[in-house]
Symmetry: D2
Subunit: 142 residues, 4 copies
């Protein structure tokens, strides 16, 4: 069972990343292996042509997988991304919400590996898929 609730995760995120583009982000689901997020896109996420920018998709995958790890380890963890691989597969629509699902593939002592898929809400074909590795700092005992 996760050691943090979705509400606790959102409080932590707001405090640690005050300038983050998390306005309106919702964690719909969290368990030992998966997380599901929803993000309304607005002006700050868009690029010319009205599509959601690549960095916004990278950021959503990265922060989503971070929350999934944090949910298992608790708020003391200071995990950092060491590797991110992302495939951009379709143009995301601007006038839509993004939905993202993360999956934990490994949670070891020093590394966590997982993937994260992003869809436009209501569509079955994903817009992007990322695989990530996080380095987990050594935890003190007791």
């Amino acid at each position: 069972m996760p050691v943090m609730t979705t509400a606790e995760l959102m409080v932590f995120l707001d405090r640690e990343f005050p300038q983050a583009a998390t306005a309106g982000m919702e964690i719909e689901h969290l368990d030992d292996r998966t997380i599901r997020l929803r993000l309304p896109t607005d002006e700050q996420h868009l690029r010319p042509g009205g599509t959601v920018s690549g960095p916004t998709l990278v950021w959503l995958a990265d922060v989503g997988f971070y929350l999934l790890i944090l949910g298992q380890l608790g708020p003391v963890a200071l995990a950092v991304t060491t590797n991110l691989n992302i495939n951009f597969m379709r143009k995301p629509k601007a006038a839509s919400q993004l939905v993202g699902e993360g999956r934990l593939l490994k949670l070891g002592r020093s590394l966590a590996v997982g993937d994260f898929t992003i869809w436009n809400d209501g569509q079955s074909e994903p817009v992007a898929h990322a695989t990530m590795t996080y380095s987990i700092p050594r935890r003190s005992k007791g």
Copy 2:
């Protein structure tokens, strides 16, 4: 619905890759989006220490995703891998079968993208996870 059966895929594979290490490989499942394979490991796949070698895992992910694409496009397709990203997460055991599951994330006119996860049979934690892009040759009409 796939345009090739699993039996037709195995015939195609044996003919095109006669020296391939496919001895004993089985396609357990194939549909529009996913494939499931089983591979008994033997001497030729092992490295010192009795573990399955990294190149064997790369090869299984690559051939598995290739069969998934081929199942959708038919035997004329000559798709080639352009990008492969793989995370090795646990040591695979030698005295075991490998089970692999592929997932099609995009099947476009010129590119196919998907991922492939590999387990030791009977274990819930994956040993490796790969994401791949295949380039699909332009098809003639008619």
Copy 3:
């Protein structure tokens, strides 16, 4: 020889990405194979702890490689990123300029592949290294 000068590239970038975080960015060098950029970091690139954020590094690699391709193809090209793989290796310093070098590994008809390395100015150990694939739209003849 590149078909666009570094000055033309900067004009194009400012017009197409008016909100982009390119304030103060400079292209120090451009030839058929390589590009070298310099970016002063400021408030908008930072995250708590005073380090440069991961998305800023992703963005710099992506825009840097985009400019390298554009320099070869001219301003009509609308190349889009299809794959990005990045390794974060060291914490970038805030009170410093970032220097980035891109390298073209393949410029084909439909795909361009290259890598991009980022340093803190004056240090020999890189902070991040990215490999990218861009899809190049079919060009009309004449």
Copy 4:
């Protein structure tokens, strides 16, 4: 300065990977940051159509970067690959030698990161480019 000579590296490789496809492989150069290898291709590396197989290219990049790390750490190290990302850019020719160059981007206490580029001997355009992460086991002191 490396702690192992190129001759010592080849002895180590032959002993640890007796069945490896290293027949005829030569280390042309090794220093603190880079390695340069040469591999004649023969029957066992080929696939139908007379081109060098993808797994051979993956294996060459992996073993080449492994030798570069080993040259710095000495023969006791048991580093294992945790992530490999490879772009296949051109068809390698069969009747040719492959030349590979590795570059160390980070050699930390627990992770090493680098890239490896492969050419057909005598050609300027690379056939493949890989980026890899190796996990380095904790070393005992003294």
